[in-house]
């Protein structure tokens, strides 16, 4: 049995809900209204990118095609993220209910749960749940007596690539291809799985959507901030006494979080996983919110004892291995950043060289093909900018830059 270390109370996902109340309400309201409520709630995707869910569902619903797909992205691979694991093991029915609602909203008959290979041990339990739901007419034909609403869910296993958490790479992987992000546009909502309109949403997104449909947009908007409605599941790890999965309303500050998990002597907090931002102490008033610190849920705490160059190196090594390798900035840029960290550690990095490297990180951030490539230098950049005291630049004559 998985030990999830969860604080099982929270404003949205971990709040009480009557089983199937979301789905029943959705069937009552009709698909257009479901999309409207999600739109009205200003709900945004919980996977990290924060794309407005209502907009995504609305675009897919508007596609005039017979075949459409609902895909749940359970390729939870961002370092320091383990909140979807809780939902997959303890709230699978809620998650599947969310997928059924989404299918009803966009008019899909087939759904896929893309489960990361490392979560293979959950497979049997999830399959059992699906089997039971089929028995209960929650999946199959004419779901809950709704004439013509047919939907079923199949589970597909990933093969262990981080990049397959990127939605188009995930679709490639589902199609049996090498997991590499696609060009966008066109977007999955019109050209997704096997070329058909597809919505890909995070596990948490589906789970929260059930609550929104059940309890209404107004209720949801009362939680969080004006632009970031609702709550966020955080997987908190690192130098603290109470690591685990927490649900906090958007607008919670880093300071509050540190207090909640009893962290002491904190030097920095990495928000958003390896591809996120490294927040230094002086910025601990910053908030978890799309308008400030956007995150897929990973919060990693570093105490004073940690060497930040090592932290940067650790993240970069992760990306160097997990980059899909198709686009130049990401594939070739990461080794350069690692070489720079190396030079910094040895005290052999000149100011000029560092400037070139920082210039390169900007290129990676704007010119890489996918979200991973664009965000992989983030931690490096924030550490270089915010922890200048942890490295010294070499005074080498300009010609020999390193």
């Amino acid at each position: 049995m998985t030990n999830n270390k969860t604080q099982r109370k929270g404003p949205v996902v971990f709040s009480d809900i009557e089983s199937l109340s979301g789905l029943k309400k959705a069937l009552e309201l009709g698909s257009d209204k479901v999309v409207d409520i999600i739109k009205e709630s200003k709900f945004r995707g919980r996977g990290g990118a924060g794309f407005p869910t209502g907009l995504k569902w609305g675009l897919a619903a508007a596609e005039n095609e017979q075949e459409k797909y609902v895909v749940c992205n359970a390729d939870e691979g961002e370092p320091g993220t383990f909140k979807d694991r809780v939902l997959l093991t303890e709230y699978p029915k809620l998650l599947f209910e969310g997928m059924i609602i989404a299918a009803f909203a966009i008019g899909a008959e087939k759904g896929y749960l893309y489960l990361r290979a490392e979560y293979k041990s959950f497979l049997a339990e999830l399959e059992n749940e699906l089997a039971q739901m089929r028995k209960d007419n929650l999946l199959g034909n004419n779901i809950l007596g709704k004439e013509g609403f047919n939907f079923d869910i199949e589970i597909l296993l990933g093969a262990g690539a981080y990049i397959c958490g990127e939605e188009t790479a995930l679709i490639e992987s589902m199609e049996g291809n090498r997991g590499e992000p696609r060009n966008r546009p066109p977007f999955p909502v019109n050209t997704g799985f096997n070329g058909h309109p597809t919505i890909v949403n995070n596990v948490e997104t589906f789970a929260a959507a059930v609550h929104i449909i059940s309890k209404g947009a107004e209720w949801f908007k009362s939680i969080g901030t004006k632009d970031s409605t609702g709550s966020k599941l955080l997987s908190i790890s690192g130098d603290c006494l109470k690591p685990g999965v927490y649900e906090v309303p958007f607008g919670t500050s880093i300071k509050e979080i540190l207090k909640m998990v009893e962290a002491k002597d904190t030097k920095a907090v990495q928000v958003g996983g390896a591809s996120g931002t490294c927040v230094p102490k002086k910025q601990f008033n910053r908030l978890i919110a799309y308008e400030d610190l956007s995150t897929g849920g990973s919060v990693i705490i570093f105490s004073n004892k940690r060497n930040m160059l090592e932290v940067a190196k650790n993240f970069l090594e992760f990306f160097e291995e997990e980059s899909c390798g198709q686009c130049t900035p990401c594939r070739e840029g990461l080794p350069v950043l690692l070489e720079a960290v190396d030079a910094l550690e040895r005290g052999q990095c000149s100011k000029e060289y560092l400037k070139d490297v920082v210039n390169l990180t900007e290129t990676m951030q704007i010119a890489a093909k996918c979200g991973l490539g664009q965000s992989c230098p983030n931690a490096f950049v924030s550490i270089i900018n915010n922890f200048k005291e942890e490295y010294s630049l070499a005074k080498i004559n300009k010609k020999e830059k390193r």
Partner: protein
């Protein structure tokens, strides 16, 4: 066919979203709706779905590219072509950004310029080797980028030792992955354009590389040697195996009688290597160049192309007779052409149980080899062991073909070396010969006489047209009913074409064909070959009699040994040159070739498909299947 439509579009196995113009459909099929786009303050209207790159090209704004290729599906991986689109946080790859709504684009904003500089630096970082020791020196897209962007130092370092061993196992294609910049053009060529699927990217991140199945040498996988990957590689990572050194040695050896046969396609393309526009035919200047280089005789593969028509055409008629008169149900029809060695290896690997359908006639190159070391040697009293038989081919697969173990019916290796157009240009340049300004000269006798029918072998549909010109006349006693012998239905660049030719009357020997309708099909590029073979397997081609297949898009004029670059326009120009030259020739039907008549009269005395023909001019095939090579040693 829409001339701008990329060849791969109909055949691509690429994900729907990455096929060119497929995004058109994704936008709800709003065909030909116009949208406004502003590029660097220049306003224009383009059809919805046009990429930024195409739009820019249409108004002569140059955006640098590397992974983009007109023949291939989109990749958007090199990121060299990024541009700024107003309102977007990140830069967009112009090659793969379809325009559906009004947008403003800047192609050289400060952030674009900085990004391009950095990206080119990154591409150079791991590109091992030096430009002056490279077969693609001065014809390399990476080098051109570095030049255009004034790279004069390696900002982020440069690799100083090779990472990979060169793969020189193949008779045709050499791979040096140290020069690879992972643009995936070869992968897209092999998987999407040709649907052979030998090359694919493996591993992730910095360990990404292009590999074969289990990283086996190219010789041990199902590579068909078509060389289309070479033609599309932007750098020198892929090249054909160059036999020039061995040929020089033969030329320098006074004991050796070095002869060269030249295929129809190189003469329509070699000028490109000397700065002439595509579609400039330089046949007679090339002859002069070859003689000056030191070849003892310069012959024409067209001679044996005519011979091929006689053999293959007769074979077809005999098969038809067996099927229609003798009611032999085991006759393999339709008959498939056998001139293209890439296609032969393809069918041997992928349809090994369908080899009976292939004509047993050797390719013109191999017929020439067999005739040169027998009839020619006897006639001119030359010891065949002293003959070094070289061929100038548009093709990399010809190198493999002449090394086939069975190709020694003359008692020697029939053809010793196959040179590509590019390699020949190299030899000519090495001698300081200025090809475009040479005087003209003719082919040598007797193997230098060819007809226009043989010449058009170079373009897709050409073999079919040549065959029809002859077969129709043999059967009906009349010339084909087409103005100026232009059999238009079999010409063109569409991937698969079909044509029907009613035979309204027939001479006595072929009376059984009277009233029949000859049904033919033409396919080029192995992706289309695959479609044809799948139709054949499903029994959908039962009514067809003769099918021409060429491994390369466009036929031989688009071969893997032709000048780089290649695209639909260039291939079309080369084809046009060949058809034009055909019309200017006095003899345009293979059976009218006087030397062909002569050889049947004095040497191949039992006529086409006779005993000696069978020995020298026909061959058999090897069912190779997909599992070849040695098993990997367990270490």
């Amino acid at each position: 066919m829409d001339k701008n439509k990329p060849f791969a579009q109909d055949t691509s196995r690429a994900p729907v979203s990455q096929r060119i113009n497929e995004s058109d459909a994704a936008a709800g099929g709003v065909k030909k709706k116009k949208v406004k786009i502003t590029i660097n303050d220049l306003e224009l209207e383009v059809p919805a779905g046009t990429t930024i790159l195409e739009a820019a090209k249409s108004v002569n704004i140059k955006i640098p590219t590397l992974c983009q290729h007109d023949d291939l599906c989109l990749a958007g991986v090199c990121r060299v072509c990024v541009v700024e689109v107003e309102g977007q946080k990140t830069l967009q790859a112009s090659c793969s950004y379809p325009v559906f709504s009004s947008i403003k684009v800047n192609t050289y904003s400060p952030s674009v310029r900085r990004a391009r500089q950095n990206i080119i630096q990154l591409l150079l970082k791991n590109h091992y080797g030096e430009c002056y020791a490279c077969s693609r020196n001065n014809n390399c897209q990476l080098q051109a980028l570095a030049k255009d962007y004034k790279i004069d130092e390696y900002k982020f370092g440069h690799i100083d030792s090779p990472k990979y061993e060169k793969d020189i196992s193949s008779y045709s294609v050499e791979r040096d992955m140290n020069k690879c910049v992972l643009c995936l053009r070869c992968v897209r060529t092999c998987i999407d354009l040709q649907e052979v699927g030998v090359l694919e990217a493996v591993n992730r991140g910095k360990n990404t590389k292009i590999a074969t199945y289990q990283d086996k040498p190219l010789n041990d996988v199902v590579c068909i040697n078509c060389g289309q990957c070479i033609n599309r590689c932007p750098t020198g990572a892929l090249k054909s195996k160059d036999p020039a050194q061995a040929i020089w040695e033969a030329i320098d050896d006074p004991q050796k009688h070095v002869i060269i046969q030249t295929a129809p396609s190189p003469r329509a393309a070699i000028g490109e290597e000397f700065g002439l526009p595509a579609g400039t035919s330089v046949t007679k200047k090339m002859n002069t160049a070859l003689k000056r280089i030191g070849f003892d005789k310069v012959f024409d593969t067209n001679f044996t192309a005519d011979l091929t028509i006689m053999e293959e055409g007769t074979e077809l008629l005999l098969r038809l007779k067996k099927a229609l008169v003798d009611k032999d149900k085991d006759v393999a029809l339709p008959q498939l052409t056998s001139c293209s060695p890439g296609w032969i290896k393809y069918i041997e690997h992928f349809y090994p149980d369908k080899l009976d359908y292939l004509s047993t006639a050797k390719s013109p190159q191999q017929m020439f080899g067999a005739i040169a070391k027998t009839w020619y040697a006897q006639k001119y009293n030359i010891d065949p062991k002293d003959i070094v038989s070289v061929s100038l081919m548009p093709c990399s697969a010809k190198k493999f073909e002449c090394e086939r173990a069975e190709m020694n019916d003359s008692g020697f290796q029939d053809v010793d070396y196959a040179l590509t157009t590019r390699e020949m240009a190299g030899m000519i340049k090495e001698c300081g010969i200025d090809l475009p300004n040479l005087p003209e000269s003719d082919f040598d006798d007797p193997l230098g006489v060819g007809t226009g029918a043989a010449l058009i072998f170079g373009a897709t549909g050409g073999v079919m047209e040549a065959a029809i010109r002859t077969v129709y006349e043999i059967v009906t006693g009349e010339e084909v009913p087409f103005e100026k012998l232009r059999i238009a239905p079999v010409r063109g660049m569409e991937g698969i074409r079909t044509a029907e030719l009613p035979i309204t009357k027939a001479v006595k020997a072929w009376k059984f064909l009277e009233g029949a309708v000859l049904k033919v099909m033409i396919g080029h590029g192995t992706a289309n070959a695959k479609k044809i073979m799948d139709m054949l397997c499903r029994g959908e081609l039962d009514g067809y009699h003769f099918i021409e297949v060429m491994a390369c898009p466009g036929g031989c004029i688009g071969g893997g040994g032709q000048p780089i670059p290649t695209n639909a326009k260039i291939r079309e120009a080369r084809a046009k040159a060949i058809y034009a030259e055909d019309e200017g020739l006095p003899l345009r039907k293979s059976h009218e070739n006087p030397v062909v008549k002569q050889i049947y009269a004095e040497f191949l005395k039992n006529g086409p498909c006779g005993h000696l023909s069978h020995k020298l001019l026909h061959t058999s095939y090897t069912p190779r299947g997909k599992w070849i090579g040695k098993k990997k040693k367990s270490s």
